[in-house]
């Protein structure tokens, strides 16, 4: 958790997900599992035992037809910074098996360091962290399709979305080879972003005013990155987690569904 970033070069990679465009097709989930060697079981009926780094939630406005409306909400890891500089999960890990990078704004997970106490899972309000209850296994032929860039995780440890960090490493390696310091916006994109057929997911550097994510979300640095765009919101803003995933919707009820409100506030 050292604050060793160099001024002017720090990135805050983040996402904007347009919920009005999301059709709930699940391509982002499939792409994520494939890209990151996420294992699966023969029986995945109990979703609270399934590993889904990217998970699409479905909810509705609670009204009857013809006023019924519904929404699909893809939920990756929020890469929280915390309003006070502490991510909910990073600060509780007893063995520094998860860390916040001030260079990229990404919360890492060190699989060989984690000893499986699951305190980080208890701390995460988004349920973005998953435990390997079983040994990872794939059908025999599928092992040939595993990505060589991502290490599979062993039983007994926690794993989560890292914004396809290996892609960032590959992109920076390429840029270094070509004698560049900075990446182009399109050079580092997550698998879910590229897989979304509706173009609902946009990824980039929230610190870079040229990037689309910055232009759309308009993060307010004075208020822990809260969006200035009136149609944008972040999940559970009131908890002070300071996440880097912004959601976009023109529907008020969808925006209101992003946080908890007491009956007297509604």
């Amino acid at each position: 958790m050292e604050n060793n970033h160099k001024k002017g070069k720090t990135k805050k990679f983040g996402m904007v997900i347009d919920l009005d465009k999301c059709t709930g097709c699940g391509s982002c989930m499939v792409a994520c599992m494939s890209e990151n060697n996420v294992p699966f079981k023969a029986d995945e009926t109990d979703k609270r035992l399934s590993i889904t780094w990217m998970l699409v939630y479905k909810f509705n406005n609670g009204k009857a037809h013809p006023n019924y409306d519904e929404c699909y909400l893809p939920r990756p890891c929020m890469q929280c910074e915390g309003d006070h500089g502490h991510s909910p999960c990073v600060s509780v890990c007893p063995a520094v098996a998860t860390d916040y990078s001030h260079e990229t704004g990404i919360v890492s997970q060190i699989y060989t360091r984690c000893f499986g106490c699951r305190y980080c899972m208890a701390a995460c309000p988004y349920h973005a962290r998953y435990f390997n209850w079983w040994d990872p296994a794939w059908p025999a032929d599928m092992e040939k399709y595993l990505s060589p860039n991502v290490s599979p995780r062993m039983r007994g440890i926690v794993e989560k979305c890292g914004f396809c960090f290996h892609r960032y490493q590959l992109a920076t390696d390429k840029a270094y080879y070509e004698g560049r310091d900075e990446l182009e916006e399109g050079e580092y994109q997550t698998a879910c972003t590229q897989a979304c057929p509706a173009g609902a997911i946009i990824f980039g550097d929230l610190n870079n005013p040229e990037h689309m994510v910055h232009k759309i979300a308009q993060p307010d640095a004075k208020h822990h990155g809260r969006p200035k765009n009136p149609n944008a919101f972040r999940l559970l803003e009131r908890l002070g987690t300071n996440p880097k995933v912004y959601y976009l919707s023109s529907r008020k009820w969808v925006r209101d569904s992003g946080d908890n409100y007491r009956p007297d506030e509604k």
């Binding site: 609270r48 035992l49 509780v92 699951r118 208890a122 039983r155 009131r238």
Partner: protein
Amino acid sequence: MDLDSALWPKDVQRCSFPKFMIGITVVTLVLIWGVYAALLCWFKGLNQTNMNDYYGFALWIWADLAIIGLGGGAFFTGFLRYLVKKDELKNIINYAVLIGFICYSSAQLILGIDVGQPLRGWFIFWHANVHSMLTEVAFCLSCYFVVLCIEYIPLILENRQLDKEPFFHHLSHNMHGIMAIFAATGAFLSCFHQGSLGGVSGVLFGRPFGFREGIFIWPWTFFLFTWSAAACGPCFTILVTKLTETISKKQLVKPDVIDLLAKISGWMMFTYIIAKTVDTWYWALYTAPSKGFNWAFFYSDNAFYGPWILWLEIVICGYIPAMLLITKKTRQKNATLWTAIILASIGVCVNRWALVLQVMAPPVLPFDTWALYIPSWQEVATTILPIAYGVILIMISYRYLPIFPQERELNPITN
């Protein structure tokens, strides 16, 4: 003359060796069942449990926190005996230490089974994150367990046959002489590990049910856990003492000793439960609403957690035992004393339950649902394992060690 009577403390009566062995065998069978379940978890993994990604903390962590709270009698009685100089408590301190030893060794065993990669357990010391409450728990718990071992060793050396060896006799005598230092160390360490266990849920700012404000880095639950362990731990010590007296059919500790410990415990409970009420009130009026929740939300729309748990913890297992213990008349009456110590022991367990399992249950995302959980038999067996281990250790210690200094005087052998 019994087979092992030469090992008994001097001038006391014990049950026959076959009867003792039958008892040991029965409890050992339960122990083996627990060991089998624990081995399944170690070799097959935590898929043997009913935990899931919503319930990463479950029955074991509750059991862990509960037995550490109940084992708080060791540090607080030691504090009263050696530092506050309540000399009468020398007649129950041995048993408090033994109960503490059982509770803390059990807690460490449970943690060893609970983690997904037990062989990496040492990472918590080697790669320690000073910001984590669990790091503080690990360090203070381990250090305090060493203190409890140091406190328990002289008791073992006082066995009639071991005591004949001059080296052991002098070692035991000298260790007793410096015990105040270890008692003080134990009290210091206990304040921190009891507190940091309270902080485990208190720092979770993403979990509005468990989160609490506090002073500097310590949430209020940090102080409440230490306070409740000091209040309810001695009650559990008295409870186990009374149970031992009932099973052995003899009085082992004089009533004035029990009365003193019960009285102090009662006042600790009374002050603790007021603090707990204020904490709950503040959380309900300010903390939860500031996160967008009405307090009642956490006690409704689910099949298990209703307001009853608040009443049970604060009124039935809080104010009632506190009042029974601070009132001389009820404290000195056997039935009401039993009621008070049982309720107090349940109270600390309910508190730990709420701050482990209930924290995991309510939805935080507005479009999510409650998550309830029922433990698997492997979890239940593994949780019963330390109880069986504790019973065995008490049976052996009571039979062969002079745990109760007043036993001879209270139960003279007449031939």
